[in-house]
Every structure is written in C-alpha cells, then in structure tokens.
Amino acid sequence: MRYLPLSDADRQAMLARVGVADIDALFANVPKDKLLSGLVDLPRAKSELAVERELARFASRNVAAGAVPFFVGAGAYKHHVPATVDHLIQRSEFLTSYTPYQPEIAQGTLQYLYEFQTQVAMLTGMEVANASMYDGSTAASEAVLMAHRQTRRHKAVLAGNLHPHYRETIETVSRMAGNEVVALPPSPTGVEDIAAAIDKTVSCVVVQTPDFFGNLHDLTDLAAKVHAAGALLIAVFTEVVSLGLVTPPGEMGADIVVGEGQSIGNALNFGGPYVGLFATRQNLVRQMPGRLCGETVDKDGRRGFVLTLSTREQHIRREKATSNICTNSGLCVLAFTIHMSLLGEAGLQRLAATNHANAVALAEMLANVPGVTVLNETFFNEFTVKVPGKADAVVEKLAAKGVLGGVPVSRLLPCKPELADLILVASTEVNTDEDRAAYVAALKKVL
C-alpha cells in the first residue's frame, strides 16, 4: 500500500519494543466478539491508475458547467477563477496545516485570516468579520442565534425572499432549539411588508439582497423600524460579487451581515465546500460565533497574529460557547483572499460591472421571446422569468438541447404551485454572446 511506510520487519521490531506478540494484543479492550477477524466486504486496495479510472467514470456522467451555455445560480455561481489561486492553495504548508493553535509556526494561516477578515469587513461595510463559517446558509442560522443571545428574545422574522434553503436551515435549528420563526411568503416581484411583522418580541429580521428572485432592496427604512423595536437587522447575500457594484448592507443599517463567498476563488463543487462570510459591528463582537484572528506582538516585539477571544468558543467554554463550530472553511477562505487580492477594488468593480452588463443583455433578449416575461425591476446578475407552462419541464427540455438555462423556482419551493412557471436565470462574466444566442434559440424551440 503506497501510503503506508512501515514494512513487516518494522512492524515486528515495533511490536517487540512494545512487548506484545501481535497487533490484536493492542486491541485487547475491544470486546472479543466485536473484533473483526477478517476484512469487511469492500474491494481491495487499488493502484493510482485504477482509482483514476473508477472516479473518472463517475465524473464523466455529469455535465460540467464549462461545457455548455450555463445560466444556473440560485445561491451558487459559475465564475472564472485565476490559475494562481488554485496553485497557491495547494502549497503543502497551506493545504496540510491545521487550525493555527501554535501561532509561532502558523503565521502564514493567521496572516491570511487577518487579511480575509479585513476584506470581508470592507466589502460588507461592517467593522469586523470572523474567520469564516461553513457556508452562507449556516452563517445565516448562526446570525439568528447570535441575535437571540444579544437581545435575549427568541423570535426571528424571515423575509419571504430569503433563499428557501437558508430559511429551512434557520427553521431546523430554531425548531430544535425551541425558538420561534415567522417566515413571510415569497414575493417574486420583491414587494413585501416586512415591517408589519415586527413587534417588541422580535429579536431579528433576516432579509436578503439581492433577494432569492434577484431583486435589490434598500434596507435603510427597514433598519430604522427594526432598531426602533429593539431588534437587530441581519442582511444576507448569496452572490458576493454583487458587493462590487451595489450599496453594501453595512451602509444601510444592518447589524449583522452574512453571506456566501463561493463566487470568489471557489469552484461550484456541486454545492460544497463553500465559505460563509460573517460580519458585524464592533460592539457585538463578543457574541460572534466562530474563530477570530487578532494582531499582537511576540516576545521580541515583532508584529504577529493569533486566534483570539476564544473564550467564546467550544474548546474553552463548552456548553456555554457562542456556537459549536470548530472546523470552518480555512482553505476556501484562502482561495477567497487570494482571488480578492488579485482583483482588488478596481478588478472587483469591473468584474461586477461585466456580470451586470451580461445579465442586463440577457434579460433584454429573453424579454423579447414571445410568452416570456422578466419580473424584476432591479437585479444584479440574476433575475426571474415567467414562462408559459411548467418551469421545470422547460428547464429539462433546455438541458436536452444542451443549455443549462436556470433553476425552476419549484425545485426549491414545490409547495407553491403559483410559482411553478418561474425560472431563476443567472449570467456572469463567463457567458458570451454565443451563449446568450444559444439560450434564446433553444428557449424559442422548447416553448
């Protein structure tokens, strides 16, 4: 076995030093009748070539996004990631290191965490950010728990246009923890009266912009109403590239900003691993979940970084911790940070502008297809179209014609028959004029 360095002679010598006759003597605490005498019913070891062949068979049965005109979004987005990013994250010292609990030999990890925290704070318009959560949905769920701790109330109001998976994630933990959730109904045109649901028992309002259907929202008035009720405003985004072009939630009064960072530096990966972004105001920092990296000095007075405020965390505080999170999204954070360092403000703005321009161009073309309506007044790189008939059937027929044309809303909201004719359509910098033309041509054929 190529990964195991010990030879049989080594094993014999080591057993002799330990002072036992055979390896099973070391498993003596396992009840005798529970110790397996032979191999489990699985194949034997394989060569590298054989493993490649077997896994390639699985991979070949999937349509890769890069192989077709591709317009699928709804919380995960196809972007181009510079080659430098993937090279750097595979450096041994990053890839094979652990959580930086020994800071003297983990300054590399700690410094990029510090850079990441700063980038996320700047992007969201907030004061501080943590070193990541698993993904956007779990970050949103943690934000709700944080708001409950801060306000000592236990009721969350979720805007109807929050991503349905995010809503379900929050609802699951809330139900289990005995907290209350008021989820408003979805509104594809983005018009809803969230303020009407706020009262003095509410700990937080969770609202997404751009929302699930792509609409952009000014949160300023809502923030004032939320604050007047003594509650916190949690702003969610699923497309971080939007922050290159739209007003960040931090400038509209949000108290906690959470979102999905996959778009920067990370591949689609069929849904994971991704990277949850979590930012807030300085005065709430001690209620934050997850790791935080802070600046300090070493014994010689040189600047260095350490994990800090860990008395919030499970390995110190146990059942009184702010969260149970331990492993987070370290390497996805690194990919994000490197890609963002390459882009810089100028590059991010340009990337966002290209995304928006491509989406605008596509929306105009689709709006001209007979029977198709674009519902959004505002959007960034994703919008909602209404088609005649069932959206899921249309999307399947498009796929059969070699176009991955979007996500039928019914895939996420099957219990809303009134939304069964809606498709979420996303367009990023990867789409070309040919892609758009292919989409329109295919759509005309299948309708």
Binding site: M1, L4, R11, R17, V18, N29, V30, P31, L36, L39, L42, R44, A45, K46, E54, F58, R61, V63, A65, T84, I89, E93, L95, S97, P103, I105, Q107, T109, Y112, Q117, H165, T169, T172, V173, L245, A267, N269, F270, G271, V285, G294, D300, L309, E313, Q314, K320, N324, I325, C326, T327, N328, S329, G330, L331, L334, S341, G344, E345, N358, L404
Partner: protein, 521 residues
C-alpha cells in the same frame, strides 16, 4: 582555498556571529507585510474584458457610491506574497505532526486531482438531476462504504464538519424522541469529551450532565447508570476516547442507555483507530459522525473545510435530513423535500447537498486503500502510538498506568514536577526540534495533558528521530536546563506571541485610519 577567479571554495573563517539584517529577512525566511500595506486600490492582477454591452443599469438607486478600500496586487506580487506566507507555516508535508485527536495523516495528491475533475468541481448543485447522475451516484457509493465500515444502516451525508455532524445526529435523536411523544431534556457527556459535544447539546436546548472517568481513564457503566433516567435523551461518548483508550465497557453502556429509552451518540473523531477492526454498529451506537478530514484524509487546510457525515441506526434512519440519495429503477436521485413515504426528515442542515469536494477526496482515499489498506492503516496507527508510548514512558508519565493505547498516547505533566518547565514550554521546545507540538492541555481531565497521535503515515525512521528528540528534551528538562524551554521557540518565524494583549485590546482587522495614526507616531 581559492579557485582561478579568486572565488573562495572553502567555508573560510565563517563564525557563529548573530547578524541582524537590514531587510528584516533572514535568508530563506522572509518577512511579509500585510496585503493592505503593499497593495493599491487601483491595481488589479486580473485582466478582465471590457463589459460588452453596458446596457441600461438595473441597479435602481442601489449602485454603490463610495469606494471599497480593498487593494489589489499584480499576479507576480500575489504569488510572492502568499508563497512567503506559506513559508511561515508548518504542514504534514513539512514534518511529523503528532496533534492528538486531529489525525494529521498524509494527504494523497491523487485525491486533490480527482476532486478537480470538471465533472465534480465544475458542476452546479441545482442543475437538472438528469445532468448530474454521476455526482449523485458518487454520494450514494460513498454512503455505502461508510455504512459497511460502520455496520450502520443509514447515513446523513450533508453535515459540513464534525461539529455539524454532531448537530445532525443530536437533532435526529431529538426528532425520534419527539416522534414517540416524549420530551427529554438531559444529555450525558463524559468529562474527557471534545468541547463540541456539550456545545452541540446545549445549542439545541439540552442540559448537559457530566460523567466522571474512573482511575483507568475510561467511563464506568455504574456512573452512567447512576445518571440515567426518563429525562435523559442521549449519551455522547467518544470511542476510542480522548485519552486514547478504547471504552472497554461500551457494550454494557450502550445496553444501559437503551434500556433507559435513551440513545447512544458516538463522537467519531477517533474512528481512524478502528476502521476495519471493529464496527460502531456492533457496539450499540445509534449515531456517529465521521470526520472525513481526519479518518479519510481530506486535507485539514489550515482549519477546514471538513465534512461530517453521520451514520444512523435503524431507529434514527427515518429522520435523516434532506437532501438524501435514493436509488430506483430510473437511476439515482436526490430527495430534496419532505414527503417521501416512510421518511420523516427532521429538516435541512444547510443549503445544497453537502461537501461534494470532500466526498470525492474521501472516496479516492477509500478506493486507494481498499478494505485491506484501511485495516492496515488502523493497525499501523495503533502500533505507532504504542511504539511512541513504549519508548517514552520511562522518561515521561502516563496518567492511567501502563495499558495499551489506541491511535494516540496521552502523557501528563507529573514528570515535569520541580523542573520549572510546563507542558506549554515543552511544546514550544518541540518546535525548535523541527516538530509540530502534540495536542496540549486536552483532554481536560488530565493535568498538563500531552496527547500524541503519530498516525500511520510515519516511517520507523521518522518515529525514531521523533522519539530520540523527545527523549533528549525530557532529559534536558529533568537535568535543570529550564531556560531552553522557557525561551522557546528560538527557531520559528516568531517567538512566543502575547495572547493576553490580543484578547485585551482586540485588533481584528487592518484599518486605514489606524495605519495612518501609527505612521504618524
């Protein structure tokens, strides 16, 4: 000696004088400023095409007005910045990384290559299922392997890390108890448990009751029985436990727990010791998360990402959260919503379908090892830990007497008494020796704990060097050379860092205002 151009070819008079450099670097060890100190907001290292058809803005009144402040760097600058940062890090590929409970085993690069196949990496979670049959089938196949290895009938694949898996398992337990019309509010957790166990139980409203360890470091079934009653929902037991010992009374504990109508949650962080040797399903386990980044070597990546599938017993199987994979005549499919006959999913753990990138890596690891290689890996891990124990137990002290350990060996700090050297000092001196320190001060039940997990990835030569270094250090400590330890590390990119200052005056980001203020001072 000089060559014909007058170039010296011998070492000459080079002495041992300490030199302070003008650059702050020392040879290959380079210092690196923050991105924000070298980047410029008008610079970008990505050549992006001009937006093709500017069109009419659809941002409404929400176009960003101010700047963002994030600087950019050209590509060569980015390359150098992050390469230099990487050189301040210690990884498994650098050297022996005996971090107990964390399982720092070799990370095969084949796994990285496989995860990057476009058919896995460049696939969207919400593409029509007809276009991702291979991806869904792979999740199904990995599920099957995990079920066979654990002897458990079901598995929830979506949890994103160990603690997330614990949460999934405990929520399945809570749902199962609610389904039989009961309400139970207590969870038993041994004192030696990982912090995530009590934190997870508390997160969903359980009261945590501690179970003490007995003199040999394992849990006494009598202590468990004394705490069991109709209010206990579950016990969360790590096996092998965090002292590196197999819970020898696990079957009896499981029976007692079940008799009380409670469930047995097993923390699978240490499953790597028994893969192919024993199956949790045979031991009475109802739920156990598996850290794919530990046992199946998907890399730790400086703190993540991980994956924490949780295997479930017959009693908990109906409650598996959405989405999950089913196979039928038409192929495989993901069930993304409640409503399938027989299923009572307790909800959803996160957006989409779990950590696919980690699934591919784990599958690649498993296929490579096979049933035989995985069993051998467990045996080698256990043998290596016992070899370290046998080699060092005469200079260090064992908290629970001389008994076989599993994949990790736990020492305490009694042997350091009177030397003036603490466990932390000893760990920092290991850095000077070129090793990553072991896990220190965990588990909490042992004073000055040092938990060493060598893993199966070390050659005998490597283990012998490690043992010789620790033996040398131990003798130095006992010989009164406390200063070597107190001032360690000497040869790391940084000396010991002031963690108190970091916590008292938290500085969690770079800010332009503060940078200007500091420059003015």
């Amino acid at each position: 000696m000089l060559n014909r151009q007058g170039r010296p070819t011998g070492p000459g008079e080079a002495g041992a004088r300490a030199v302070t450099t003008f650059s702050g670097n020392s040879g290959l060890s380079q210092d690196e400023p923050l991105l924000f100190e070298i980047g410029r907001t008008n610079v970008t290292g990505v050549d992006l095409e001009e937006p093709k058809s500017p069109g009419k803005s659809r941002l409404g009144k929400l176009a960003r007005r101010g700047g963002i402040g994030i600087p950019g760097l050209s590509e060569p600058e980015v390359m150098r910045h992050y390469v230099r940062l990487s050189q301040m890090n210690y990884g498994i590929d650098t050297g022996l990384f005996p971090l107990g409970s964390c399982t720092m085993k070799h990370n095969p690069r084949l796994n990285e290559k496989m995860a990057r196949l476009p058919g896995f990496a460049d696939v969207h979670p919400l593409q029509p299922q007809s276009t991702v049959q291979g991806a869904i089938a792979l999740i199904g196949e990995l599920s099957r392997w995990l079920q066979v290895l654990t002897g458990m009938p079901a598995v929830a694949m979506t949890p994103k890390a160990g603690a997330h898996g614990e949460l999934a398992g405990m929520m399945a337990i809570k749902a199962a108890i609610a389904a039989r019309g009961e309400k139970r509010s207590t969870v038993l957790v041994p004192e030696s448990a990982h912090g995530t166990n009590p934190a997870t139980a508390a997160l969903i409203g359980y009261r945590v009751v501690s179970v003490p360890a007995r003199a040999d470091g394992t849990v006494d079934p009598a202590e468990v029985r004394a705490r069991l009653n109709a209010d206990v929902a579950a016990i969360m037991l790590t096996n092998p436990n965090t002292c590196g010992l197999f819970e020898r009374d696990v079957v009896e504990i499981a029976a007692a727990v079940h008799e009380a109508g409670a469930f047995f949650y097993a923390d699978g962080a240490n499953f790597n010791a028994i893969v192919g040797k024993a199956r949790p399903g045979d031991l009475g386990v109802d739920a156990m998360h598996i850290n794919l980044h530990k046992t199946f070597s998907t890399p730790h990546g400086g703190g993540g990402p991980g994956a924490g599938p949780v295997v479930l017993s017959e009693a908990l199987a109906p409650f598996v959260p959405v989405p999950y994979v089913v196979a039928d005549a038409k192929g495989v499919r993901l069930v993304e919503h409640a409503g399938e006959p027989g299923a009572q999913p307790f909800g959803r753990m996160s957006a989409f379908h779990g950590q696919m990138g980690m699934f591919v890596r784990a599958m690649s690891y498993m296929l490579s090892h096979g049933a035989d290689g995985m069993r051998q890996a467990s045996e080698d891990a256990v043998l290596s830990a016992n070899y370290v124990k046998a080699s060092l137990q005469h200079v260090m002290s064992l908290p629970f007497g001389d008994q076989p350990c599993m994949h990790e060996v736990l020492f305490d700090d009694r042997w350091l008494e009177g030397t003036g050297v603490t466990t932390l000092d000893f760990a920092k001196a290991m850095i000077d020796e070129g090793f990553h320190p072991m896990t220190v001060y965990f588990p909490l039940v042992v004073h000055g704990a040092m938990l060493i997990e060598p893993t199966e990835s070390e050659s005998k030569h490597s283990l012998d060097r490690f043992i010789a270094s620790l033996d040398g250090l131990a003798r130095a400590a006992k010989a009164g050379d406390a200063d070597r330890f107190k001032s360690a590390p000497h040869f790391a990119p940084r000396r010991r860092l002031d963690e108190t200052k970091a916590a008292r005056e938290p500085k969690l980001r770079w800010s332009p205002q503060e940078a200007r203020k500091e420059a003015a001072e």
